[in-house]
Symmetry: C2
Subunit: 198 residues, 2 copies
């Protein structure tokens, strides 16, 4: 991976959350790790502590749970989106889920240890606290919407909404992943699709 380009792109996409001076940016970059994963490789596995907060530079990942042998999709992250098993990462406790790449994927990572170091480094602390706050707030809002969708909408309504706003999900994800992202089975989504066409 071209880590120079990746860094530039990362800096750009961080702007809503943190604008670094050049010297801050240099300190920050010392903590970044660049990792390329092949399709279907795991970034997080259930039972292990998620050690990194990540940014998808290229490719995409899927976050899913496994129960009774079937896997159930929680969400997806595409290019230029953050990705982590947040609870596991933040609390440094074993994850209850997996994160797996869906394609060959390039990630920029910040380890929990690095984050703590930056939060403890006077030169970066304030900016990192703010960065963390804004990222967490962003995801808080996303989750608020997602919970609202589950309690106020039927599966069919959730699918129709996804059709409107669906980002890359519908184009790039196999339908059975989309199905349990919506909280239903693949068979059920197939029926919903037919119902809508009729």
């Amino acid at each position: 991976m071209d880590s120079l380009k990746a860094k530039q792109n990362f800096r750009l996409h961080l702007e809503p959350y943190a604008v670094f001076t050049d010297s801050e940016w240099e300190l920050f970059c010392n903590h970044l790790e660049f990792v390329s994963l092949k399709k279907k490789e795991y970034f997080v596995e259930a039972g292990k502590v998620c050690q990194h907060f990540g940014f998808v530079h290229k490719g995409s990942v899927r976050y899913f749970h496994v129960s009774d042998g079937t896997d159930i999709t929680g969400y997806f992250s595409f290019e230029n989106e953050f990705m982590s098993s947040y609870k596991s990462f933040l609390k440094q406790e074993p994850a209850v889920n997996y994160i797996q790449t869906l394609e060959d994927t390039e990630l920029i990572l910040i380890s929990h240890k690095s984050l703590q170091q930056m939060l403890a480094d006077e030169r970066l602390a304030y900016k990192m606290e703010r960065f963390g706050r804004l990222v967490a707030e962003y995801y808080l809002c996303c989750y608020e919407d997602r919970v609202a969708a589950f309690i106020t909408q039927s599966p069919e309504e959730r699918y129709l909404k996804l059709l409107e706003t669906g980002r890359d999900i519908l184009q790039r994800m196999p339908q059975h992943y989309v199905a349990n992202f919506l909280g239903i089975t693949p068979v059920s989504l197939s029926r919903i699709r037919r119902r809508i066409l009729a």
Copy 2:
């Protein structure tokens, strides 16, 4: 309301998120508002911007959506818990939900304007950023669990889990509020309860 006691209690419950020096605490307290609401009064109404982030000193509140005339519970907050229509508050956009007291309730409030002032005040900025980050992260983790419950568990399983962990919800909330908190109708919850007893 005894605002001195309320302040003390608030300071105690903020400790996981922010520990203030006495002088910081004094600055912080200048921004606090103390409000008593009667049962069934509204703290947030759909269509209006949520202006405050709140802490429940006494009593309890319910967060709910209204669609097609029926109301659907999103969550509850009890004594010593935070409460806000986060997305509306953070983005200062119209809320899509209501927040209503369930009993006579005493709240400690921070207005959006006050929060911005504190974030801009050199003497408090760092601590407030950190405070904001830790609160947002806390709720992020709660929401992560809540979404996981919707996609991995059946309504019955969610109810059984609530029986185990249910805080005050089951004791203090009417059952039809609990029902749509679980994403189902009151009638359906009643059936689940019967099924479990049998």
